[in-house]
Symmetry: D2
Subunit: 386 residues, 4 copies
């Protein structure tokens, strides 16, 4: 029997990284709806992230996106974060928003463009040195839209070359997290389309290269928890970009489209020994139509709830049912945990941490939304393009 | 045996409408890559469309998108088109790019927003009166991102109410083409997500309401030619928005992802009596990374090639094989037509129409690309947002 | 606020029909794994169904499948059911397992095959007269595997003709439930592939023709609750075939793959006024590897749990949040109900009905499994083919 | 410029393996439609395969499936094949049709079942020794239907253990081809669901372990040619199981659902140096409703046509267009080859090989179908279960 106190202890030390860009405006190709109070600077994003952490207690780090969060003084930004109880997390590179990248970045047919992209990636490692970040997250929009447009295999060679150069540059405690994505913005081939491709590259690179699983980046029907189990078995699961979707890379709040899937994923994390600091648990979402800060709080809570349920699985009973091939009993053990209402347990955990048991209500009462709506008038709101 | 001369005659009178917005910039949510020479005004878009028609001979009309093509004098714009051998085609409404439309347009919970959206739709009919356009194309981005966000059924009521008001306003020769889309930009529910929903609304409205099939707007694996056959049987196929995709609504050049599917669609059009002016054959594509005008020329040619193959199907032999249940023979008759290289036939058709047999090469030789690159410096390039 | 007593009352009168064939053997094209104790006759299937009803209290009817449940005396079979506290439910026709049906049944190119299929459907109505069944469930395996194999539209005509003949034969209180399916066993076209096609046919036929939604019969990503809402609005939702799936028509236990989806479906049923005897709630599943009777009990419980959560939604609060466009609040109201652990509530309902609060445990204690394993040796086990 | 004579030479030496089981009966879970003249023994299957080779000239080997093709004297069977101009190809293991395999084979929780499955695999290597086959093809139906049913990771361990034991047993020139499959017959997890999992296992095993790509075994939308390119780059592409599909693992005739995809796959094979004897090109199809032998002939021809087009791609022009980033020109080079009608070229190739230019017509004229219909009366027709 899982002791509730052990579950609580595990939940207290949970750490979910929020992405700086989720505090800014985002949208679809059809329209970006601006929201009042959106941050205009990296520091204002950190201010918002600090609210999320203040109310949840489990969001102590913030991922940066370069160049969207470019500042002159990264060490200064790190100090700013620290003063607010935060630290800076993964550095996310961006090699898809320059006009030069129309046909790709590190996989581009033109060596000059590849060089430019590589320089950006290396710059990101410089930034990591300054911020003290452990993880470099690499997502490449590279791919092609039309059969024949470029040579699939040559692009793999170019990719491998760039990755090797970046890997070489990594310092002692630093890691490279390679993200894969099924499609978008490329619509025919994507150069890192699946976990297998990411895995194959990471394997050649070495131990510091790890695969990151974005929960919205798979073909329809893909069993994500299986991938998690396999990557953990291979020692190659670097972390998650959490979000959810009904269709493609919808980037909805994690757990909002299929909470049962999120639970199954978290169960494999726990079962495979991946619940701990070696695995980066990050959100990567777009709050296009809903209020951003409470949506992020809600997302953090959704991950907490899935984790709590995963931790509550009676693994001894599960193993016993599995061992004797009792399909229904084994499934019932798992569902028992899933069907448990863990909100009271999490309310207790929060109270034990000195927090309000209802983070969303506490946020709404805090007046923060009204304050930033008032204070952040004028200037240019942060968004994907800035 | 299908007489080649009849096939040629049918191909000569083909009409494929090009969309004004495909001449402007487009992209994904990640980046819009601007291209040199892109039109800055509706008139410049018509200039480009005139080049497509000049080289292909089968693209005589241009669809407008309001407000992207808003002008003071629509009759004047129609005259401008006529002077270039074109006429104005379908009017496409846009009720998704105003901040008010964050939660929908005609399905919005707020009656004031619905009224605003309806007014826009009615304005589009006014524009049709001025341009002489027959078809009002309605695509609604309306939907929700999260379960519970709004009431699915209430939104249908609101939709029905708006459609009825627009239908009422249509003049004698005017039609309403209702488009459906599986998802995007809404990621949980879409208010017109499938042909069934569009059909049910059109049925209640009356004969002037017809369904338009966008070839990129279906769930994975959907058999589009089946839908075409059924809609033609029901007298409810108003037209097509042509494009192609490997994944979601990729908006690639029609025929580039699955040319066999395009052939099968055109075969059902021909077989079902839908090849003629009652069916609107329109392109609706995004040329995000490729040169726009030659991409549109190529797209028009792709539709021509699929049509030629569809017209070449030996329907007598096909019926005979079908009637006796000879699966392989029936399939072989269809494949015979598909496997035919129809490019020489189309080259002949073009020459008989006084055109260059190779439209892409002729376009490249024409110097138009160089000219617009030079002439259209400065100003603001057209795009989805303007 | 929803009164718990009203919720309990609604749960007590719930009725979930179990399918006779789920008690027999089933499998995939690769292998049917026989299980001990499987019924050999329709009466033995009813014996098992009676156990499910005895333990759950909400499974009072059993669907028959003809010819799998063919008997000489249907009135006698109905009496046999009645003696066990059951009544006979929907009659399911089968026009796909005769060698004649290789290329279809009512859509077959050969009129003689069509006539044979139609005769079977009419026979099913005769059986309904004898059993007192209200609903004739029609699922057609008809379709084609290869482009060109048969004429899509001609098959629609043949289908319409057969449906009209069956409709004509229906008695006063009888209904025809037309089922659609995305694919399988046909792999290119399916003659009733989506709700739109089923709806269009039912509309022409009249009020007694209704659409049945099998939850495993949709394209990947399809929003089923939307279809439910639309069909209820149109007065055309006849019922459900419940099961669940991760991939295609997996026919797993309902609620086992995506319990949140099942909840959303049941919410739309409740919201749209579909919770009542007019809607047929049936299971249609295959218990290929798990013990059948407890799997069916579990499935019934899964529907109960989803229904309880749907009934618990605070619709007033939901409407209020929806009306003011508060995306997160509206979503939270729905999720509140979903996240509730309704198992204690259902245990109370069962106790109030004089039942064991834990139907699965009660079944296991009952000794039924051991008894049928012993008693049903020899003979030929029931399965899809018999 | 590709010299036509080189293309012809390449086409003449093409080798496409046909599967013994495709000559037998097959079907869906709903029905197996028996066909007249179907073989009753492995030798009769070889007789049919000899006809396919006689008419096409490029189908010189036949894959066996154990136990469906179990005989007492495999060397004798190999001689029988040789006398008919054939040789025996890959040995396909079957660890999914015994009652013991309800919950898996080499991944089963029970060690005794795993041992039984392993013994079968080792027996298959014995058979390879006798037949002189190079390739052992491993497809595992292993997986689970319900979350929690078994431990995902433990099953990977068991799988790895079995694969290692088989690998150890392989002789000098022998290889193990590991097949992956998205789903079916398992509906929740599949133990080798994607190329990444197969690749990871093969990598650990060594050079004799290679991945086999079944073209019907992917998630919707998966870019198969990308996987081909990547596996060739990694030296891990062992071969293909060719078939085609619109939906899931439909097992239709290769090239019938998406001929353009087949061409793209063959292009990557050619481009990546995979066109040659190291890559096993096998059919794996089900001719459920169409005549089997002509369907197989047609399938062989479809592969030939796709190969011819792939060989005709002007790779120099393609590289040039790719190098300068001319998206449309590069796509046009590829499409030029695809749009070519290669049937006249293949007719010439056949005539140069002393064959009838139209293999299907020649088969129909040969009287073989009538002869086997007459001769093979009585006895038990071969099928998946025997």
């Amino acid at each position: 029997m899982t002791a509730v106190s052990a579950v609580k202890a595990a939940l207290r030390k949970q750490a979910i990284e929020t992405p700086s860009w989720a505090y800014g405006n985002s949208g679809t190709r059809f329209k970006v709806f601006a929201q009042p109070g959106v941050p205009r600077t990296p520091r204002e994003k950190l201010d918002d992230a600090a609210r999320v952490h203040a109310h949840t207690g489990v969001a102590p780090t913030v991922a940066l996106h370069i160049p969207w969060d470019r500042v002159d003084d990264y060490a200064g930004l790190a100090r700013y974060a620290k003063e607010r109880g935060l630290s800076l997390g993964a550095i996310n590179s961006n090699v898809f928003q320059d006009d030069d990248y129309r046909l790709g970045s590190v996989c581009h047919p033109d060596a000059a463009v590849r060089r430019k992209a590589l320089d950006h990636l290396l710059e990101c490692v410089d930034i990591m040195d300054a911020t003290g970040s452990r993880d470099l997250k690499l997502w490449f929009a590279d791919g092609t839209n039309y059969p024949g447009q470029d040579d699939i295999r040559a692009r793999q060679e170019r990719l491998a070359e760039a990755l090797a150069a970046v890997y070489e540059r990594l310092g002692g405690g630093q890691r490279m997290l390679l993200e894969y994505k099924f499609f978008e913005p490329a619509f025919y081939t994507t150069d890192v389309p699946d976990w297998g491709t990411a895995y194959a590259h990471c394997l050649r690179l070495g131990e510091k290269a790890q695969v990151v699983v974005d929960t919205g980046h798979h073909a329809p029907g893909t069993n994500i928890e299986f991938i998690v189990a396999v990557l953990l078995r291979e020692g190659k699961l670097g972390g998650f970009d959490f979000n959810s979707r009904f269709y493609a890379d919808d980037d909805l709040m994690v757990g909002s489209a299929d909470p049962f899937q999120l639970f199954r994923i978290m169960y494999e994390v726990v079962r495979g020994g991946g619940y701990g600091p070696r695995t980066a648990f990050m959100l990567d979402q777009c709050h296009n139509i809903e209020a951003k800060i409470p949506a992020i709080i809600r997302s953090v809570m959704n991950v907490q709830e899935a984790t709590a349920k995963a931790l509550l699985v009676d693994r001894e009973a599960l193993s016993a049912a599995q061992a004797c091939g009792d399909v229904l009993a084994a499934n019932a053990v798992l569902m028992d945990a899933y069907n448990t209402d863990v909100r009271p347990l999490l309310a207790e955990v929060r109270e034990e941490m000195g927090l309000d048991p209802d983070p969303v209500a506490a946020y709404h009462r805090s007046g923060w939304a009204e304050r930033i709506t008032e204070d952040r008038k004028g200037g240019r709101q942060a968004g994907w393009g800035a």
